[in-house]
């Protein structure tokens, strides 16, 4: 479903992402782990077509995001970091706008908005403006926006960041509920999240993939059998190597 091929991104002299390749198939939830500033968000922004890669590309359902951006974007649902939304719009108004942009008209458009509201449990706040909502509700509105067109690929950048445990639970339930019919890509720096929802994970540090495997395989890499020890071991050595190279 998603085939990432040698993605690279330079911002001036800084190389944020260096040669990242991986695939995600339908039914899989791939976690992208890494410390802050490792290049997770930049990678996701290139996959979703927001940033053009310096070299390399991503193929989504057979469409190249660089060459055929419109066709590729139709297959993607994207939840950007911090769930940006238009603050002055109401929840219903915003989802109606997204449905229109996604090409739905008339009864189908209303049906999509209603099912989004229902699926993300937004009935209580549907007529409120987005600026009056709590962080958890905003995250769910942005989530509703991302799955409104039932995308084949769902890309989420830190979907549970800044949420309380109950809200995290709700978001993870929503992710798991649609895992079977989609390919899902989640970035996070919260390790428990990988164990809670992901079928496979890659660890990125300093713009490179330094480890890949199922959560169980990754845990086996450290005698303690704990994911945070593995994470610290791998990302610390990558950081040290960078210092030595410079």
């Amino acid at each position: 479903m998603l085939d990432v091929q040698h993605l690279q991104k330079k911002f001036g002299l800084i190389e944020a992402v260096r040669d990242i390749s991986f695939t995600v198939t339908k039914g899989e939830i791939l976690g992208v782990l890494g410390p802050n500033g490792a290049g997770k968000s930049t990678t996701m922004r290139m996959i979703t077509g927001f940033l053009p890669p310096t070299s390399g590309t991503a193929i989504i359902g057979g469409y190249d995001i660089v060459e055929q951006p419109l066709q590729a974007k139709r297959l993607i649902g994207y939840l950007p970091e911090n769930a940006p939304l238009y603050p002055e719009m109401t929840v219903t108004g915003f989802l109606d706008f997204v449905a229109g942009i996604r090409g739905y008209r008339g009864a189908e458009r209303r049906r999509r908005v209603e099912s989004g509201i229902e699926r993300c449990r937004l009935e209580k706040v549907r007529h409120q403006t987005i600026e009056t909502l709590s962080k958890g509700y905003r995250q769910r509105v942005c989530f509703a926006q991302a799955v409104l067109h039932d995308p084949q690929l769902l890309v989420m950048d830190e979907p549970t960041d800044g949420l309380d445990p109950n809200q995290k639970h709700v978001v993870r339930e929503m992710i798991r509920s649609m895992a079977s019919e989609k390919a899902i890509l989640i970035s996070t720096h919260i390790l428990e999240e990988v164990e809670a929802v992901c079928t496979r994970a890659i660890i990125i540090a300093d713009g490179r993939i330094i480890a890949e495997g199922t959560p169980a395989e990754l845990k086996a890499r450290h005698p303690s059998g704990r994911l945070d020890e593995v994470f610290r071991m791998l990302t610390r050595s990558a950081a040290e190597q960078t210092v030595v190279r410079r």
């Binding site: 001036g12 940006p84 002055e88 706008f97 942009i101 996604r102 090409g103």
Partner: protein
């Protein structure tokens, strides 16, 4: 490129409604109309002139628009960049050109609404005397086209920054240049050092001759071409700014 695709229409509707979803539109429209009214009746002494002529009324549009059009456009891209919603907008299956045009049409439509709402002054004049309706129609067409040129400049400057104040000030300066380019005191300064071809080039950028000729009720193709060129150039500049920000 299509001037109004389905996507452009959706973005147009969202942007146009956004003005009315906050108090901005109402505050803006009230001040716009009060300012035009005040300048026409009290500064230009419309009643004392004792003529059923709207020349003094149309005289003020370039100056009122100069102050208020940048206020209506400063939010368009800068706010998207500040809040990060630009990341949503540009990952929807929409081209950059469609998004840009939707925003431009929405801001221009809003300014057209503000312009048209000055109609009570026209009714007053028609009731008091017998003004030249052709000249009034021409004057309004000129005012709307002028607003379009200013709006295009404002859309461009709003893409340059995530700060609305900077966006406002830069738009104001560029529009002020368009308004003053042919004015003798300004041309005297340019004359002192610039070669003559540059002087005439600067003078030809001025919006005023085109605005005034429409006020006389004459619709000249060259005036329309001038406004179209300013709009197309400013929007193209905006496109480049946004495209460049993505690849930087």
């Amino acid at each position: 490129m299509k001037l109004c695709s389905a996507n452009t229409w959706e973005i147009f509707k969202r942007e146009f409604r956004a003005y009315f979803e906050s108090p901005v539109a109402y505050v803006f429209l009230v001040f716009y109309l009060m300012l035009i009214g005040f300048l026409t009746f009290f500064v230009s002494r419309f009643y004392e002139a004792n003529q059923a002529d709207l020349k003094y009324f149309f005289f003020w549009f370039p100056w009122v628009n100069l102050l208020l059009v940048p206020a209506a456009t400063m939010r368009l891209w800068s706010e998207e960049r500040r809040t990060g919603t630009i990341e949503l907008l540009l990952t929807f299956p929409v081209t950059l050109g469609e998004a840009l045009l939707g925003k431009f049409w929405a801001a221009w439509a809003f300014m057209t609404l503000a312009t048209v709402l000055t109609f009570p002054i026209v009714i007053t004049t028609t009731w008091l005397g017998d003004p030249d309706l052709g000249a009034i129609a021409g004057g309004y067409l000129g005012a709307i086209l002028l607003a379009g040129a200013y709006v295009a400049v404002g859309v461009w400057t709003s893409a340059m920054t995530r700060n609305q104040v900077i966006s406002y000030v830069v738009a104001l300066v560029v529009c002020l240049f368009l308004a003053l380019a042919g004015w003798p005191p300004v041309m005297d300064i340019v004359n002192r050092w610039a070669p003559s071809w540059l002087v005439s080039a600067v003078a030809s950028l001025s919006v005023m001759p085109h605005y005034e000729s429409l006020q006389r009720g004459v619709v000249d193709f060259r005036d329309l071409l001038y406004y179209a060129s300013v709009i197309v150039l400013a929007l193209f500049g905006c496109y480049l700014v946004l495209e460049n920000r993505r690849t930087a």
